[in-house]
Amino acid sequence: MNIASGIVFQVLQSVLVVLIAPLMLGWVNQCRAWLQNKSGAGIWQPYKVLNKLFHKDAVLAHNASHLFRSTPYILFGCMWLAVGIVPVLATSLPFAPAADVIALVGLFALARVFVSLAAMDIGTSFGTLGARREMMIGFLAEPAMLMTLFTASLISHSTSLATIVETLGHRELVIYPSMAFAAVAFLMVLLAENARIPIDNPSTHLELTMIHEAMILEYSARHLALVEWASSLKLTAYITIGIAIFVPWGIAQAGDWTGMLIAIAVLVVKLTLAGAGLALLETVSAKMRIFRAPEFLGTAFMLATLGMLTHFLLER
């Protein structure tokens, strides 16, 4: 493969995903509004919010440390790296070998740890509350996520996302019952990890229910903008991981320009559908009490494990 075209592909994919991530969020919100019989703010609203936030003066608490100030950038960097690694449009990207699925999970964990630390930096009651809950969700979701990914890895004998996509998408079609279990589990993890209903509600600031919002209460202006952007990136990254593992058809190989164009088209369709589906899910379910979350994620873990066992039993 040509190194230069690989790098072009890499940059192209990253920039593209980073740019459309707020759009994804806007789309989900818009769908949700429609489903709730509201008119909605429009799918471009997240961009407007970001722009507004960047313009504002940043306000920092007196006792904020460097950690607090650098976290938004670190977060943004992590998420950028994540979307750079996931084969959103193409496999065999030059950065892809830098991290496999496990490292990807580690990357999300790194981001989570930094956000939580930043939340505790000021020393407010909400910040620590949010950090505690976030970490709780995190430690429950992470094993489930890994088990899901392991199922895919065991099928393709690889933890590299590129190889998984190539195995599952570019070869003959085989029906893997284990993947069904994994897909459901992945969906549950996705909801939990991205602060969606039924675990968290991204659109509330009701103190008793906040998780993610509680952590970023002290951020303002450009810092908040980066954090928000990073969370939309995270949602996109998760959805694209889901796509890569469960519906990988259409992803191009790096250097294949026509494939690339098809891949973009296919991706747009997939993302549109995924966003609508997510909105539907969020609309039909209600938020849980915080201590129902372990049950929810425990179920996800069980499903993922079952998927893996199914793989060992049926698919060898």
Binding site: A119, S125, R132
Partner: protein, 670 residues
């Protein structure tokens, strides 16, 4: 150095003896405490680094052996250094270098007499660990093994005026001794009645399947007791906090690793013929240990105790790696086995580095604030910026976050567990990934725990009015921490070099290393089996994040602005933000306590509604005390009570005993 003049083994022995000599010098000059702290300890650090170099040298060199003119008449002390010993010597030397540097500053204000004793015990401790690693006969191994326990016992009880520390020391030495008895028994079984007790003879002895399993179980029990494996871990959270912080670092960072060394040495090298059932045992115990360790760590508010429980957890992770390796080797897949072994060994090294660093950080906090209770700390990042940075590196490393070193070894362990499809038995095949999930869970819980530690100790507002402003650690202390923090980074970013060394170790032990493709990859890419299967490049990882960080920073400033305003925290507009409104360390662990309630033994005292001065008390205890240790103690008491009844003071009864003995023997003799 020319190999024909000096063998690694000679260097290692000489350096260890120098350590003992330094200890004695420290004792002899205890009236000159400045000299002891500023000359003896740095000299010890110098020996450490030389020893580390020797270790590194030995990994690549062929095994060299020697016989020392001491020991039993029929069994003089045999010493031998091979790749495995070399690796552990590297670990010992590398980690103790940082710790000794730290100790210079940490002990500078210690009382003269105590310092003299500390110096002796500390260096003897180091030397006995080195000798454990190079011992090549059962006797020398046992002698140095127990000397190690003994010297560290005295270090643990340095502050013996506190009841807690005494109790900790007692439990520590008791468990260590029982473990040693088991190890001794294991050597006896291994010996099988032929030859002497050199490792060479033990290696050569042919054991039947049953006795090999017995030997394995004894070794596993004995070394597990030292390593802090469930359910023999009870001494660990007691002993580590009791010791002075550099010693805690040494015990947790290095001493526990000698147990891992012993386990590998005995199981892989001396017993040989590994079976997968053994591996499964190790694997399951490892998984249970790691989960249990981290859950209890989350319940702690004493920083050093918390770190001690994390040592339990990490020992569990190491055991998972080794267990995987044994499962694979036992099932005839040495290449996968090598991966597991390398993962286990690499985690051993990583844990030594970051746990040493964290204990030193805890020591720095203790020294400058006098605090060990997390619930009283807060906001230390503003007083101890350097310590805070090093501690953050350690915390991220132990939480297995990329791109630091803890992640590399956990990643390798995951990779090893994903080799499960190679296995024939479907039960084991499905168990292995579940263990991997447990590993993931404990990794995530560790992350939570260190968010708690770091958030509560270094961030937020301080909770406790200190008499004076905490002072940043001294230069020596910072140098020690810097060394270990740099090691965390280096091992995290450039794992390939060390993996190559570990591959030598694995080659020497099980005659198998990683696949050729894996070894062919360059320094940038860590590839466990083949690049199609998995790869990881921490440098690219870090670079991308750093570049994006920098670019974003610049772009935001360029396109918009960098204006900043300071104000009070907002916090949803609540007034009166005091430090009492922050989560305490206990509060932070509350979700875990609730979710895993059955694991803990929780005592609560809840105030009544009309209580004028309501106090809420809660303690979390380890059920093992009640399930395992108390019953054993009771049973012993019960037995000794009955034996005691025989001796009731009446001379007629005593005469009757003699009489009956005589009659019985006469009947027997006829």
């Amino acid at each position: 150095m020319d190999a024909s003049f000096l063998q690694p083994i000679e260097a290692a022995v000489t350096l260890s003896v120098i350590w003992i000599g330094l200890g004695l010098i420290g004792l002899a000059f205890m009236r000159a405490p400045r000299l002891v702290s500023h000359a003896v300890f740095p000299a010890g650090a110098l020996v450490s680094i030389l020893l580390a170099a020797t270790g590194l040298w030995a990994i690549g060199a062929p095994p060299s052996a020697a016989i020392l003119p001491a020991g039993l008449p029929d069994l003089p002390f045999h010493v031998r250094i091979d790749a495995l010993s070399g690796f552990f010597l590297l670990l010992l030397g590398g980690v103790s270098f940082g710790i000794s540097l730290f100790a210079v500053g940490y002990f500078r204000d210690t009382e003269a007499a105590t310092l003299g004793q500390l110096s002796l015990q500390y260096h003897v401790f180091l030397a006995s660990m080195a000798f454990v690693l190079i011992a090549d006969d059962a006797y020398l191994f046992m002698v140095t093994w127990e000397s190690m326990a003994l010297s560290s016992y005295f270090l643990v009880t340095t502050e013996h005026h506190e009841e807690r520390n005494r109790k900790a020391g007692f439990i520590y030495l008791l468990v260590a001794h029982i473990g040693a008895i088991s190890i001794l028994l294991c050597f006896g079984v291994l010996h099988g009645g032929h030859g002497d007790y050199t490792f060479e003879a033990l290696r050569a002895a042919e054991l039947s399947g049953f006795w090999a399993t017995v030997a394995f179980l004894l070794a596993f029990f004995g070394f597990g007791a030292k390593a802090g494996m469930l359910p023999l871990h009870v001494w660990l959270p007691e002993a580590h906090p009791a010791a002075p912080s550099p010693v805690s670092a040494l015990m947790s960072g290095v001493m526990l690793k000698t147990a891992i060394y012993g386990m590998i040495r005995v199981i892989y090298d001396l017993i040989g013929g590994i079976r997968w059932e053994w591996g499964l045992t190790v694997l399951l115990f490892g998984a249970a240990t790691s989960l249990f360790g981290v859950l209890f760590a989350l319940m702690q508010h004493d920083l050093k105790r918390l770190l001690a429980y994390h040592s339990v957890e990490n020992i569990g992770i190491i055991l998972i790696g080794i267990g995987l390796s044994m499962v694979f080797v036992g099932s005839g897949h040495p290449v996968a086995g090598a991966l597991g072994l390398i993962a286990g060994l690499y985690h051993t090294l990583n844990h030594a580095v970051f746990k040493g660093l964290l204990f030193l950080g805890a020591g720095a906090i203790l020294k400058s604030t006098g605090l060990r209770n997390l619930n009283e700390m807060g906001g230390l990042i503003r007083y101890l910026p350097h310590t805070a940075l090093y501690f953050l590196i350690g915390a991220l490393a132990i939480s297995a976050l990329p791109p630091l070193n803890g992640f590399v070894s956990e990643w390798l362990t995951f990779q090893a567990s994903l080799q499960a499809p190679l296995l024939e038995s479907s039960v084991v095949r499905s168990l292995v990934p579940i263990v991997a999930a447990v590993l993931a869970l404990s990794g995530a819980l560790t992350g939570m725990c260190f968010v708690k530690v770091y958030g509560v100790a270094f961030l937020g507002q301080h909770r406790h009015e200190l008499a004076e402003k905490p002072r940043e650690a001294s230069r020596w202390e910072r140098a020690g921490m810097l060394w270990l923090a740099a090691a965390c980074l280096a091992l995290g970013l450039l794992p390939v070099f060390m993996i190559g060394q570990l591959n030598n170790v694995s080659q020497a032990l099980i005659n198998a290393g990683l696949s050729n493709e894996a070894m062919a990859s360059d320094w940038l890419w860590l590839v466990p089996t083949s690049s199609a299967q998995a790869s990881y490049s921490p440098i690219v990882f870090l670079l991308v994040i750093a570049v994006v960080f920098e670019l974003t920073y610049l772009v935001v400033r360029q396109v918009y602005h960098g204006r900043l305003r300071r104000s009070d925290p907002w916090d949803c507009g609540y007034p009166e933000q005091t430090s009492r409104m922050e989560d305490t360390a206990d509060g932070f662990g509350q979700p875990v306590r609730q979710i895993f309630a059955p694991v803990f033994l929780i005592h609560r005292e809840i105030p009544r509604a009309d209580d004028p001065q309501p106090v809420f008390k809660q303690s979390v205890q380890d059920r093992h005390w009640y399930w395992l240790y108390r019953p054993i103690a009771r049973f012993t008491e019960f037995l000794s009570g009955h034996v005691g009844k025989l001796q009731q003071g009446r001379i007629s009864i005593y005469l009757l005993y003699s009489f009956l003995t005589l009659i019985a023997l006469l009947v027997f003799a006829q």
